[in-house]
Amino acid sequence: MLFNTIDFAIFLPIVFGIYWLVDRLGIKVQNLVIVIASYYFYGCWDWRFLSLIAFSTLVDYTVGLALNKELRPSRRKLLLWVSMLTNLGFLGFFKYYNFFAESFSQAFTFLGVSMDAARLDIILPVGISFYTFQTMSYTIDVYKRELEPTRDLVAFTAFVSFFPQLVAGPIERASNLLPQFYKRREFDYANAVNGMRQILWGLFKKVVIADNCAQFANEIFNNSGDYSGSTLFMGALFFTFQIYGDFSGYSDIAIGTSRLFGFNLMQNFAFPYFSRDIAEFWRRWHISLSTWFRDYLYIPLGGSRGGTWMKVRNTFIIFVVSGFWHGANWTFLIWGFLNAVYFLPLLLTKRNRHNLGVVAEGRILPSLREVLQMGLTFFLTVVAWVFFRAESLGHAIDYLQGMFRHPGSYLLLSNYFDYQNILNLIVLFMMVEWLGRKGQYAIEGLDYFLKNRVLRWGIYLIIAITVFLYSGEKQEFIYFQF
């Protein structure tokens, strides 16, 4: 069930109604409603994979309790490994088996040894990378004694399968989300309105920006050999907005939906395209994953302690692993590697924590220096996205060469009317994002406009009508495949 479908528009009010109706029966019943709704939501994709989530949940629940009782370090480590191997085993099998089998086969062929790898016809369970990381964070935190394990199986099941963020995040840390399942949730008008507003903005990003950009990005990337350099550049630009609209839109809908149920999820995107350097970009893009890798990989590896070589090594490891998390393809690995290369100069000159605040804070317009910084960062990001979107490394390299080979040629897009419309919408979108950049999401930051009731309702209606009028051809959320 996708967020941008009629099915979800029917599902959400029903679950919302039942959830608050059973409020008086206690949080256990409310949690149970969440579990049933979440399993139904996930089962709509493929009910067979419900057993995977259920199994992961049971393993981590049991391991968590056992870790609490066990004092011997070797046994505790063994329990941690049981959880890690179960979770990463599922992930490895469903997501990476074919990649490794083919890569080994190619490597052996390269060395002159013919080897046929058995390729399996495996369906990737939707969102497996997201819920696997979420449940792993629980076990790691319990292992490190940073979190008390839960005895409440229903609450834990609800935490693992919480439908708003189950299939594409934000990847919540157990220490933030799990305790919210223990506490009584009160319906809060302001929070619910904020949630609805965030859902609306998320829908705009997904349905208007991402889906319309996808139309052109797909056409240009799929036929990149037919297009001129400037068109290829536009294709990369369209994909840049597509992936942002798609993923941050999904996150907004997820966070907004959670607010309706009285939960607060972490911010996942903080206007990344206004970043002044790559380090800032990665503090603002897919925050829940970046911080996951920081907490559970970068810091255990030594983090920024130690010498320069150690820092460089750790940086490359987390970027490449992050690329690999996105998909079993060399293109994702190179995308991660390229971002590490972008990051390197900042790390070596110790400028990676220079831009921590909101750009041009307190001003309407940025300075020329900020414009140049944002422009350069944006350009580097656009180039990196080519690897992310391309079908293969060869395709990415051809695409980039094409982009710079004939930069002056004319655009060759057939549907000029739609093309103009989407460019206008992107400009409007970025203006709203700029004006609202100090909020958790753009329209939350437009406090001046939101104070006036008529203006506020007018904005809601205009966005809703625009979502309806300009919605592009329905596209799957890109991040579901991860």
Partner: protein
Amino acid sequence: MRHFLVNFLIISALLLLVLTSLFSMADGYTDAYYLRFTTSKKSNLILGTSRAAQGLIPQVFDSILQKDFYNFSFTVAHSPYGPVYLKAIQKKLKTTEHEGVFILAVDPWSISSKSQLPDDVSNFRENKLCLGNTSLVNCKPNPEYLLKNLNGKFITLLTSKKDSSRFLNDDGWLEIDVKMDSAIVNKRILRAKNDYMENLKTYKFSTARLEALKQTISFLKKNGKVYLVRLPVHNELMDIESSYMPNFDKVVQEARSLSDGYFDLTYLNSKLKYTDGNHLHQESGRLVSKTLALLIKS
């Protein structure tokens, strides 16, 4: 909670009002099919693919046969004979009257599937298209159709009038108004020819579709007279069609004998004008409709 729900309902009602106004703007320019899902049940139907949708003009039949005809033909993708089309016809037909006239255009493609498994009903491509995904065929406005089939492009409800080359009339006739100078027409014919050459590789005769055609005839026979017609096409396309199914008349023999008459109008092929070789031009459409109506009358 009450305050939240009241506000939510107010804003939803406002939005619904805007959307209803927008939906009511959908008309014959919206797309080539919408209006056919908005009219009431009909007693006399013209059925088939796009050849019939563009080439058989209800107005002409009305004047000669003194009946109120409705063109419920779509395209070879949407309405080849099959369970989906039959179900839609059953919904569209006014079954209280039993003196109807039904004209079914048939050709090799309308009883074939673009698939390696031509009889795999569950994978017929029309299952996912408008006739397959819209349960209501007599509702105005028809939000179900618009939501499921406009691919989210609701902006076209405001802008589609710019494309004046295609208009779906109230009687279901799809009027095409395109330039007819010979160079452009030849280009279109060449394109259609190439497409049909491709079809030779991808289409396969379907027993299930032929069976559905017979079921359709049997169902309609309960409500009136059923006539089969093979419409004219450009000679070059006819050659391709003949090489695809040389014994077409024999293949549909059972269906022909179930019907009240079969008219093969392909003898007119070279005397008519086509917009692209596959579809009759308006003028020729009128002529063919008149010829067919007179044949039915006689």
